[in-house]
Structure formats: structure tokens, C-alpha cells
Subunit: 400 residues, 2 copies
Amino acid sequence: LSGSEIIALLKDHPARTPEARIVRCMSERGAITAADLARATGLARSTISTALSELRSAKIVIEVAQSMEVRGAGRPTSVFSLNPRAGTCIGLHVGLSSLRLIVADVSHAVLHHDEIGLGLDYTPQAAMRKARTAITDAYRRSGLSPHSLLGIGVAVAGPVAPDGRIQRASIVPNWAGVNIRHVFASAFETAVFADNESNCSALAEMTWGAATDIDDFVYVKIDVGLGGAIVVQRRVVTGAAGAGGEFGHISIDPNGGLCRCGNRGCLELTAGFRTVLERMSHRQKRSVTVEDLVERAFGGDVDCVEAIAGIAEAAGRGLGIIGSILNPGVVVVGGFGATAGPLLFDRLNDSYERHTLLKRAQLAEAQRLRIVPARFTTDGSLMGAVALVLRGLGALQGGG
Amino acid sequence: LSGSEIIALLKDHPARTPEARIVRCMSERGAITAADLARATGLARSTISTALSELRSAKIVIEVAQSMEVRGAGRPTSVFSLNPRAGTCIGLHVGLSSLRLIVADVSHAVLHHDEIGLGLDYTPQAAMRKARTAITDAYRRSGLSPHSLLGIGVAVAGPVAPDGRIQRASIVPNWAGVNIRHVFASAFETAVFADNESNCSALAEMTWGAATDIDDFVYVKIDVGLGGAIVVQRRVVTGAAGAGGEFGHISIDPNGGLCRCGNRGCLELTAGFRTVLERMSHRQKRSVTVEDLVERAFGGDVDCVEAIAGIAEAAGRGLGIIGSILNPGVVVVGGFGATAGPLLFDRLNDSYERHTLLKRAQLAEAQRLRIVPARFTTDGSLMGAVALVLRGLGALQGGG
């Protein structure tokens, strides 16, 4: 079974045929009943029925289960989804010292994941070769046909220009000025899309996560570093050079400490976990992760609780600045920091309120900022890279 | 001649008839030849000719002049514009202690302007009554028919919620929570639109000024206060509560001086002229304006040159922060500060470069920030209020 049929359906935009509308709906929502398909697409049940038969005989759609939910007559209901074999996407995360990889089907079920260490200072060519080997292995081991591959989405730990060029302040010096789309497109005969990791995470939240019904929001990643993305009218604002949403590098103190970006007093120094982790790792003579820190905070460790509160305070100040610039109605918080729950969110809300121009008490409910946790934690940028492929192919562009 | 005919044409969106396309084109570009109309609309010359005849006999379009430009056969060419009497808009600026008013025709020619002192602490009702008297006077004195009025646009010196409610931190305490659209709509039998003054200025620049061909930009007003607006895909980002683009209230130092908004260390304290003007006025025992200060700086006054440089330095820091958040390709600088020319812009560019994440040298030409002066200085928000009416009526919504 080749990916070309499903690509044709995904590219049919605006979706004209019932088949294309069903495929798009499933690519956004995963497994679904015929009744819910009718509701979501507005198509008649009989039309859905005929189209589903067509799609099932073409092996693009499969019946995955019988819903236990009792409706009307009490008969079990069939649940359908896209055939994982009908089309696969690769999400690739290019990080500081490793590559992460997922293979997902068009209903965003993850079929395979992998992490490949690269050490520091690896070259784009080395990364591309490792990725090629890992992808070939992944398809072989999962029994997937390489012909099912619809495209590769690449999430990059740094700004990516609109044309795919990796900017300064990214990953490793070897990558500066390299066009990541070109590097990967030269090795794979498929469509390649690339964006910053937080822009990808925002896309994942918008497509399958905490922001599926929100047109305008800000995404903030609180993790070792601090990152973010801006979504306006369901489009990620990448900026003229790809530095849109680089919240970690808001300079809050021009006389402050030196940041890895070369500027001073960047927000990331106080609102990301790196500084705290380095201090703790040094003291404990072992590598402490954000996960460790959050776990110990939940266990009542006062230092860890205070470290999270300090990060929330600084991040809230940053959100206050973002509030005076963009005045978002919703901020989605991702990264491992978000797993700290109320230990992070309570202080984050307090700090935002102190630093923002318009205070809660004076605003109507609908105008108040809601700070909500992301659905995806570590895998957000990978899921977003998959969404980048589906969106790039035209499937999700209309948002429905 | 009533405004209803032209409203019907402006509301015809997307413009279907040649008449509607010509009217929209003239509302955006002012006086224009038939040849340029053909180029701009893509209509055949013969179609333009027929439609112009129709519009002229309906007194919606008039011939304003013969162009001296010699074309082909060397005959003078006729120049057409919308008949000022065919439709008028009111732009109203609601400021700290005064109302300003313009009456403009649909080709944005200003037919009348007026300023009405109100003193501090005036009520919305008092402002509305003064505005009503001033508008009646303006139409009578200019010999304009009140029936030509298409709508009123109100530019407010503070955040305006999407529904028209004036937020805290605005104008005078009496206005907080008041819906300005309702106040004015109750007194005038016409459409009323309202937005923040800098959002209006950005709209004026986008419609008739420095950003007519730019889809994404940031507008910054450097004047007594510091204001701004964000334009994404030719739409002003007002934010959930109307505080989008409130750059003056970016808190750059939580331990800094108290701002009129109630927070500490707002950018406006160092990047607006208020602090400097108060100091100079106190020293000179007279009220010094931004105009005075800029004039003296051009005359070589070292204190004034340094004051402008200090403001440019602080504003550049603010732009650096905005750069890490939105990474705009173009910043349009308005307000009286912009009249300082290189005295302001040179330092502004330097300071932005020092505070921003991505440096010029590492960027392709097209990715570098361009900081450009606005076309409108004092009257930008009033012109924008007029654009708000035309856009609100559907005329400019498509951007062309």
C-alpha cells in the first residue's frame, strides 16, 4: 500500500470529496465513530457510509474496535481510524547532543520512537546520516513500507528562518547558516519541513492538544531552557528571521549574567532550570534533571520547592512582559516544568498578575488570562514535527 | 446627496461590480487616473470608462484635475476622486484632557479639524455632548450634509477591549469600564467604531502610510508616552482585553520607579518623553513640549540631543525585547519623537542591535529589521480612526 493515495486525499484542499473530508477529520481526531464523523463533517450518514466502504476497500481506513458505549438500541458501535499503513510521517528533533525520532501514522499514533546520541559539535551531515540509518531501521523493524512515508518534519532546538536556514544561537556552531530542509531533502526522496522546536510544540497543542479550539495563544516551554511560540489566528508567528517566540532571550537585565546567546540578563537564566540544575548537580556530584527536581519537590524537598517557585516567579515576570505586548487570552505551558503542577502554576499566576498591565479584578471573565498545562511534555516538539508534515501537505491548513 | 449609496458600494465585499471596485480603490488611494485605476483593479479600460460615467452621474465620483503628466499623444489626463460630498467619516481622538476631531472624506482628505479642551476628569457624557456640538458645528461650517456621514471612529488614549469597553490605565478614571461605542452610538445615528490610539495609528500607516505594502509590522509611538501596535497578516492584534501593543508598560525593572499605571519600572518611564519634559519644564519654569525639545536638539542644544539619545537607547532596549518575542521585519516609528530623525533613529538602531538575539551580520538582508519613520505624526490616530470606519464598513477589509 502506497502513501500516494492518502497524500492525494490530504492535499485535496479545501476537501471536496466525502473521502477527503473523512481522511482529514481522522488525521486530526484519530479513531472516530461514523456518527461522530457525520457530526464533524456535516455529511449525511448515508454518504459517510458509502465513503467509509470505499476507504476501507482501498485499505486507507480500518475498523479498529467496537465502542462499548451504548447508544439508542444498545448495539455496539464500530470505531474507524486511518490505516496506520496508509501513510506515515517522521518527526525528528535535532537537539544539543542527540537526535530524537518518532514514526507516526496519519492519525498521530506513534508507531516507533528512538533516540540517537551524537555527542557535542556534530555536523549536519553526520546528523543526516545517523537519521537516515535510524529511519531505515525503524521502518524495517516495525514492518512498515518505506513507501508509506508522507514526509519528514524536523524540530530544531533554535531559531529556524522561514526558508529553513538555521540561525545563530542554535544547537551547535556547526549548524549556523545551514539550511536544514536542504540537508535532509538531499538524503530523502520526500517532503521535508522544519521549524523551531517550540513552534512545533505549539502546533502539536493546536492540532491535538490543549489548544485545539483556541485561535490565539502563547506557548511557553519551561524546561532546562525557556522557549516559546506565538499563535495568531491559528498560525505560528515565526518572525522575519525565525526568532518569534524566543522568550528565553528576552533581556530583562542588560547588566545581568552572560547568556549562552551572547547577550546579558536573558530571561532563561532565571526562568529556565539550567542554572538551578547546574548548581544542584555540582553540589550533589551527579547530574540532576528537571524530572529529579520535580519529583523531589513533590516529596517535600524545600530547596526543590523553592527552586520551582523562583523559576515560576521569573517566568511570571516574562509572561507579564509578553502580556503588555501581546495580551494573550491563553498561555499553554509545556516542558518538564509543567509537570510540577500547582508548585509551578500557582506562583506563575501570582507573578503574572503582579507584572501585567491589566489586573484580573478589572477584567471581564472572558478577558482574563488562563494559564493551562500543555498536553504533551517531552514529545510535544516531535508530535508537532508530524503536524508540520500533515499541515505542510495541506491536510490541516484549513483547521477543519 | 446621501451617504447610503456609497455605503452600499463600500459594503459590497468582496467588491463584485466595477463601481464597487473603483470606489474601494479610490478610498484607499485618493485621486487617480483611469489608466491607474485599470492597473490597480485589473478591469478593462472600457469597463472603467463606463463605470466612471455611472459614478460621475450619481455624483459619487468627480473629476478633480487634469494631470500635467504627458502620456503618449501628449494630451492631459483626467484625474478622478471620490466626491467628498459622497461620504464623510469622523475621526475622534479621546485624550487626557481634550478631544480632537477630524472630518475626512472617503478618499481620506481632511475637510475639517478641531480640538476641544475638556480639562481633567471629564465624564464620558460630557465628552459625548461636546463631541456632538463640535460635529454639528463642523458640518454646518463646512457646508457638508450630515446625511453624508458614514460613521465615527474613536481613537482612545488607553486600552479598549474588543467589545468597545475602556479598560483601566486609560485616560481618566471616569472612563474605566465604560463602553465607548455605546456612549457615542447613543448620541449619533451612525456606525461607531473604537480602538486604542496606537492601534489606530498602525491602521493609518497600513492604509495610507509607511506600511501600505507590509503584511507584518510593529508600530511604536515615541512621544510624551510610549505606545504601540502589532500587525500580523494585515490585522491589528488587539489582544484578549485590548492591551496588545502596550509597549510603554513593559516592566523592565520591577524595583524601578512607579508608573502612572500602578506598576513599577515601566518602559515608558525611560523611553517616553514625559520624565524628561517634566524635568525641563520644572527647570525652565514653562511647559516644554516634545516639539520644543526636538527643535532645540536640531539647534545643537546638548541637553536636548542627549535626552533624545537616552530615550532612543531605552526604546531600543524595548525593541530588543519585542524582537525576541515577535521578531518583526519592520518597525514603524511614529509620534513626535520620530521627527528627531537621525538624532533618534541612529541610536535606536544601535541599541536594538545590542539588545536583540539575532545580530545583523548573521542575517540575510531580507531578515534584518528595518526601522522606518511613520508617515503620520500628530494626526495618525485620527486618520486611523477614519480608516477604522472604512474598514469597519467593509471597504478596506480585503486589503485591495
